[in-house]
Amino acid sequence: MPWDLDNDRPIYLQLMERIQQDIVSGVYKAGDKLPSVRELAIDAAVNPNTMQKALSELERDGLVHSRRTSGRFITEDETMLKNLRDELASRHIQDFMEKMKQLGFQEKETLEKLQDTIKRGTLI
């Protein structure tokens, strides 16, 4: 299945986000080997050079590292993984807050709505 990508943002950024998401959600675990660039590119249905760029950027951030001849691995640095998780959470919350603001909700109202929803148990 091709990955779901937006139209208006650079593709490599979206590939980075998707791999970060997969790391946080446990598709890949700390220390796991990543599939090859080509395998990932075919899976995502994107250009291999673009996938290469996304992985190089993740490597620069320290989230993945490559071992000569044996491929790319997810970091085993638990602090870094925890930070990534927090960072993704903040990003989602910011998006959410932005959308609620567009709907005309004040921060306080948003918070009440959120607490209501949790109380009613519609979210797990």
Binding site: P2, D8, P10, I11, A45, V46, N47, P48, T50, K53
Partner: protein, 233 residues
């Protein structure tokens, strides 16, 4: 290293006054998938025919791996034309044998693998296949060669969306990182994610030559959207 494709002030004039291509200068490096985009009549197919030596330039020159189109360049260029040139009475199996005989770099096993992936019978005669299946067979023949430059003129025009996905998959899976694919299409949205860069032609001239992600970064919109705005009718 030579660029795989170089056009220097390339022009093609028809009927002594109409320029299908007008002073096109363009250089493409190896290892990229390039979309050749432009509205009808912008010069895409003329450019492709010039690269393949099917037309001669009115002025300027086109070089493939540093050489003018000829026997040597045809060995390294794998070309999917707009229209079929195959003998419709032949069986798929015979066409594969024909290609293997004709081109040193044709990989028969690869062709059969793709046929079986697409569930196309090697014993079918071309004439009995649907339009879309014929297009798939032709793409298989073209992608089964180990070429340096693949030129695909509208490879996904006539097939359904599922087959389109498979064709894009085939292109990605068989593309060698040192080779270059130049692919013309109107269906930008469908192929945008597999392109490194796009070359826009407008009225025979180069309107843009830029990496897809640079366009998205600078414009905050997809190449497809940009195209629709630039070429609004």
């Amino acid at each position: 290293m030579n660029p795989i494709l170089e056009c220097r002030n390339l022009s093609k004039k028809y009927c002594n006054h109409f320029y299908a291509l007008n002073d096109l200068t363009l250089s493409l490096d190896s290892g990229q998938i390039v979309g050749l985009l432009g509205p009808n009549g912008s010069g895409k197919t003329t450019l492709i025919k010039l690269i393949n030596g099917l037309l001669n330039p009115s002025s300027g020159e086109v070089l493939i791996d540093g050489k003018a189109p000829g026997v040597d360049t045809k060995k390294i260029v794998s070309y999917l034309p707009e229209r079929t040139y195959l003998d419709e009475s032949m069986k798929v199996r015979d066409i594969i044998r024909f290609f293997a005989d004709f081109y040193d770099n044709f990989i028969t096993d690869r062709a059969y693998q793709m046929l079986s992936d697409l569930e196309i019978s090697a014993d079918a005669r071309l004439r009995t296949l649907s339009k879309g299946t014929k297009e798939k067979v032709q793409l298989i023949l073209v992608m089964s060669r180990d070429a340096k430059l693949y030129i695909l003129d509208e490879p996904i025009g006539g097939v359904d969306p599922a087959a389109r996905d498979y064709i894009l998959h085939t292109i990605l899976a068989n593309y060698n990182e040192e080779s270059t694919i130049l692919l013309s299409t109107h269906l930008i949205h469908d192929i945008e994610n597999i392109l490194d860069r796009v070359v826009f032609l407008k009225e025979g001239r180069l309107a843009m030559n830029a990496p897809v992600d640079d366009i998205r970064m600078e414009q905050g919109r997809s190449v497809d959207t940009l195209f629709r705005e630039v070429f609004r009718c």
